[in-house]
Structure formats: C-alpha cells, structure tokens
C-alpha cells in the first residue's frame, strides 16, 4: 500500500477523479474496472463504475440485471470495510440513452430535441454509428464527472481491436461535422431542390440511387436538425478532449500475456504516450502461475518415466513451466513501455470472478 510502490494502483485510485480501463477484448477489463471501484470505495471515495457489455454473472453481481434502469447508478453493497464516505455504485452504459441525453442537453428547446430524437436516421445510428459506443462511453464519463456527485468515475471502455478509436472518438464526431458535404447540407439550404453545391447534390443523388428516395429526405432532415446542436457538440468534444488529458485523469491499460493481446496493449501504450494522455498503470491479467522448479537431480530422476500418474504430473509440471516462462518473456517489452507507471501482474485464477467477494479479493491484489 506504499504510495511509491511500483506494483500498486493505490495512489491512482486515491488521487484520480477519472479512471479509464482500456485494452483488448477478453482480458478482464470489466472485472478490473469493478475491482478498482471496490478499492476506491474502501479508501473512502464515493465511486461510480460505468461498465460496457459486462458478462451476465458479473452484471448480476453488480445489480445491473434489470434492463433499462441499469443505465442509472445502482449501489453495490458488501464490499468489505470502507473508510468514511466510501461507496461503490455501478451502471451499465446504454449508448442510445446517452446520445439522447446529449441531444436534449445541447438543444435550444424541447421541440428542437424532439425533432432530432424522432428522426428515423438518428434512431438508426444513435446506437450503431461506427464509434458511437466509444464516444458515448466518454460522454457518460463527462456527464457523471460534471454532476459533482462523485469523487471518482471509473469507465470500462468497449473492447476494441483498434482501441485507439476510443481516444479519438470525440475528434471523429467533430470531423464528421466538419465534412464539406455536411457543411453544404446544413448551411442555409432548405430543400433538396435548392441545394446547388455540386458535390453535395451528387452525394444526395448517390444516396438516393443506392438507398431510395425516402432516406434522402430523412438524412437531410437529420443533418439539418443536427446543425441546431452542432455548436454544443463541438464545444463538448473540446471539453472532453481537455478533460481526458487533465491531471485528475488516469488510463489503466489491461492486457493478458497472449501475444495478440500484448501486441494491442503495446500499440495502445504508444498511442497514449503519443497523444499525451496520462497513464495510470498497466495491469497484466490471466498469467499462468510459475511452478516451483525441479532440481537437476530430480529432473534426471524423473526424465524417462513409464506412462502413469507420476509421468502425468511431471509432464504437466514441464508444460506449465514452459508456458508460464514464455508468458513472462512475452511481457518484457510491454512492461518497459509502461515506463514509470505501476505494473500489476495478476495470476490466472482457478475460476472466473463473478461475485462481489471475488472483486474484493481482486481489489486487494491491485493495491
């Protein structure tokens, strides 16, 4: 629990206001985010964890099993002894609801908001627009952060092979709004017929040819209504971009020792350094335990056994040692890339963690 312990995230959970866990899929990101939440609550902080697509049993354990209402924070109980004021709350990201909330907040009037929300094109893309989930995870983080209700907001980011998408999500939306065709569509034009810009009318013509006339009207309508809230969206993207680079923010990269996962984590660490996001730590999860070594004399004694239970045991010892050693070699470079940030290695546990006591146990290992 030493503040300067290079193998503890204690300092990060005590001092940050925003924490993002990111990394490849299937390495235990959500579990790590939840366990960091437990540790923060134990340290006396009022903490909320935003999960994205949690495994069902973990969601149940966090009380996030009641569908729509899971988008709002739920209190998680029985997290061990907590210092004064420490609480853990959890919610499940609902990208569409978050987008709706953003539109309502940024619209000048209720009517304006309803126009956007009721548009069929908006309804179709709010959940599925490429990168929407990533962007909405960050938007939800912002909403919770500025509410002033939380000491610490932890966001578990969507799994992504291109994890960098997440970091660029706010900029991407602004890029979209800056697209010349979008600009031409929304600056002072009122109907399809009156659009004179060549590229834009060609765009609409292409959409019409490919997807039918109805969608052209819906698209126009959608872009036009989006224009009303464009200023707000741009402003928000800028705010979020500043917030993510602030000194109260920390990114925690989670990986496993598998070569593909390590490759993605290295890529992510490079991108975090490159874009000047603050790195809070690296968690390497699911490492096979390294068995105690056999002495040379014992190795010789056990070298050529006939098939049988002891041969099974020796073979298993050899295989597990080989894998565990190779995994540790695989990790040298990625741990170097973490620089001065704490690195926490977690063993592959005999069974998955899917209840609160399991999270409490993991919280201890992380700090």
């Amino acid at each position: 629990m030493n503040e300067l312990d290079p193998h503890s995230l204690q300092r990060v959970i005590e001092e940050s206001e925003l924490l993002l866990t990111c990394g490849p899929g299937g390495v235990g990101k959500t579990t790590t985010a939840a366990a960091l939440g437990v540790a923060a609550a134990q340290a006396g902080r009022r903490t909320v964890v935003v999960t994205v697509d949690p495994a069902r049993r973990l969601a149940d354990a966090l009380g996030l099993d009641d569908g729509a209402a899971s988008d709002e924070p739920h209190r998680v109980d029985d997290i061990g002894s907590t210092a004064e004021g420490g609480e853990l709350w959890a919610l499940m990201l609902d990208a569409e609801k978050t987008f709706d909330r953003l539109v309502r907040e940024q619209s000048g009037s209720r009517k304006q908001a309803e126009t956007v929300l009721n548009n069929p094109v908006y309804q179709a893309i709010s959940g599925s627009l490429s990168g929407a989930q990533e962007y909405m995870a960050i938007e939800r983080l912002h909403q919770l952060h500025v509410s002033g209700e939380w000491d610490l907001v932890i966001v578990d980011t969507p799994p992504s092979r291109h994890a960098i998408d997440l970091l660029e999500a706010p900029d991407r939306l602004v890029g979209f709004l800056g697209h010349p065709v979008y600009r031409a569509l929304t600056v002072g034009q009122r109907t399809f017929a009156k659009i004179t810009d060549a590229a834009t009318s060609m765009f609409l013509w292409a959409v019409k040819r490919l997807a039918g006339p109805q969608i052209v009207e819906d698209t126009l309508e959608f872009f036009r209504s989006l224009a009303n809230i464009e200023g707000g969206l741009r402003h928000r993207a800028k705010q979020v971009s500043v917030l993510l680079r602030g000194e109260d923010t920390a990114f925690v990269v989670v990986t496993s020792p598998r070569a593909e996962a390590v490759g993605e984590a290295e890529h992510l660490l490079d991108a975090i350094a490159d874009k000047k996001f603050p790195l809070g730590g690296l968690v390497v999860n699911l490492i096979h335990p390294l068995p105690e070594p056999l002495s040379d004399a014992d190795e010789r004694l056990l070298a050529d056994l006939d098939p049988g239970p002891l041969a099974d045991q020796v073979e298993w010892h050899r295989e597990l040692s080989t894998l565990a050693t190779a995994e540790r070699e695989e990790l040298v470079e990625v741990e170097r890339l973490a620089g001065d940030a704490p690195v926490i290695e977690l063993p592959l546990l005999p069974v998955d963690i899917h209840d609160v006591p399991g999270l409490v146990d993991l919280a201890e290992r992380l700090t």
Partner: protein, 325 residues
C-alpha cells in the same frame, strides 16, 4: 472431456466432411477466445484435404499472414501456402471502401455516380445508411461465393461484441432502407446467410464459465434466431486431461515405485494444484455446453505457448478433423 482419448470420442459424432459442408464459413467468438486462430486452423485443415481456400480477414489482425505461412494480409489477394495434394490457401482483407467501389462497378453504376459516391466519401454515405459498411463487406463475400472463386471461403469475423451486428447488418438495414440497390444487396446477403448449403458459422469459446455462456448466447442469437446454420461448436485451448494429477505427487510416485525428495514433491504439487482446478472447471464447462446444445463439440488442445507458430497451427488443424479410420 478434453484430452486425447476424450477428444476422439467427442469428434466421432462429427461428420468428417463438415469443414467444406458450406461454401462460406463465418468464424466468430468473443474477444480473446482465439477465433482468428481457429479460423486459420480451419483453413489449413481444408487445404490439406485438397480444398482451394480463400481466407478473409474482416478486421485484419496483424500477424495472421505469418501464421498462415505467407506475408501480411492486405486488400490484395495473395497466396499464403500450397499444400501437397492440390490444396492451397489464399488470403485477403476486405476494406469497406473497396467493397463499395466493387459494388458500384458490379451494379454497372456509371462514372457519374461513382464520382458522386467518392466525392461524398464512404463515411458520409455510411452515416446516412447505418450498417452499410458491414453489409458491403458481407455483400462482397456473397459475390465471391456466387462466382465460386474458392471451394471454401473462411471468414474471420470481427471480434468481441461486433460479430452479431456484423452478421445482423443485412436484416437491420431494412429498417431504414426501403428501396434501391442497398435493400437488394441486403436481401441477397440474407438469402445467403439463411442457406446452409452456402453459408454456416463456426462458433468458438474457451473452456471457462463466461466464454461458454457467451458461446451459448451467440449460438441462440445467430443460429436459433437468425437461422444461420451452425457447424460443430469449438472449445479452444483445452488442457489434456491428465488423470494422474488427481493423486498427490507422493502417491503418484508410489505407483512408479519411486521415492521423491521433499523439494520434488513440493515442485510437482505447486503445478498439480493449479492443474486440478483448471481441469475440473474445463470438464464442468464442456459438460454444461453439451447439455445446452445439440451441435457436436470439438475440443482443441491448449498449446504451451503464448505465441502460436505455423507448426502449432498444424496441430490445431489436425484436431479439427477426425481421423478417417
């Protein structure tokens, strides 16, 4: 029920020709379960059987080309390896914008519309037509299948939470698109997905609780609800079942008429203790899957390395197909 003896028992229920029972094999699984590796192993197994295989990396993961014995996979088709007996593996990726261009060309869309489309750029059109990027990629795969460019097209589907939206893009699009060539394309893709002679899915999991639960959800979602034909279910990375681990090292030594030093006992026990719990979990989860689903189950061995080589891939390919004897 993993392990050499049990593996044979498990795959005996599998038709030996399953690999090429449909022209298109979509390989899918949640992130981290090794579905790309299994896709590559299936390609190798089919090629060894004499098939001309086209491997399509939808979400081009680095390193896949080397694993298949060739160069990095790109949007240009390359031969990865030739196998004795006439089989070969070619590989490519399909970026959405390229699929879009090919699609326009295919539809005989003139230069004017093509220019319009490129001036507007795909992201804008895609924003106006949700799911379009996925549909374009599936549409391109459907064209390749129709042209009969290979005996088997293995599709390494996007990982994590993206496999379902990818495969569902065809049906989802028809909610917003009511007419035009995009709808036509969606219908043709849906037709291919629903025809088990043309297309089936190979679903992959690990022998652990959460991945097995997610595999069962995926099977319900894609198989039962969407009507996609399912190939055997693959449980990847299973440790061989070593019954000798159930004994203590001292007991085990006794049946070999050996006496172990204390340090040897302690070293072996430190490994055996972990092995027992993993094996128990593995047996329990495979049993759970067996009870929940009717499809045959194939278990693939866990290889003692975090970084697979083409030789390792060959071992997995062997395990995918039962012996003919």
């Amino acid at each position: 029920m993993c392990g050499s003896a049990d593996t044979v028992e498990a795959v005996n229920t599998v038709d030996t020709q399953w690999l090429t029972s449909a022209h298109v094999m979509i390989v899918a699984g949640k992130g981290g379960v090794g579905s790309s590796t299994v896709a590559a192993a299936a390609a190798v197994a089919a090629a060894r059987d004499g098939a001309d295989v086209l491997f399509i990396a939808v979400d081009g993961r680095p390193g896949m080309g080397a694993l298949l014995g060739g160069r990095e996979i790109s949007d240009r088709e390359q031969t990865m390896q030739r196998v004795d007996g006439g089989g070969r593996i070619r590989a490519r990726s399909i970026p959405a914008d390229q699929a879009f261009g090919d699609y326009l060309e295919l539809k005989g869309v003139g230069g004017l519309l093509r220019r319009a489309a490129s001036s507007a750029s795909l992201p804008m059109i895609a924003a106006a037509t949700p799911g379009l990027e996925h549909l374009l990629v599936l549409g391109k795969i459907k064209e390749l299948e129709k042209e009969g460019v290979a005996d088997l097209i293995v599709v390494d589907a996007p990982p994590a939470g993206h496999a379902t939206p990818f495969i569902r893009s065809a049906s989802g699009l028809s909610d917003v698109v009511k007419s035009g060539p995009v709808l036509e394309q969606a219908e043709e893709v849906a037709e291919m997905l629903a025809d088990p002679q043309r297309c089936k899915a190979l679903l992959v999991a690990l022998p652990e609780e959460t991945p097995i639960t997610e595999l069962m959800e995926l099977a319900t979602d894609l198989g039962d609800d969407l009507g996609l034909g399912l190939l055997p279910l693959v449980v990847n990375a299973c440790w061989p079942d070593r019954s000798g681990l159930d004994k203590s090292p001292a007991m085990a030594a006794r049946s070999h008429k050996l006496k172990l030093s204390d340090s040897a006992k302690s070293a072996l026990e430190s490994a055996a203790d972990f092995g027992r719990s993993r094996l128990a979990q593995q047996r329990e989860q495979i049993e759970r899957l067996t009870e929940a689903r009717d499809e045959p189950i194939i278990t693939l061995p866990r290889l003692a390395t975090p970084r697979l080589s083409p030789d390792d891939l060959a071992i997995l390919a062997d395990a995918l197909v039962p012996d003919d004897e």
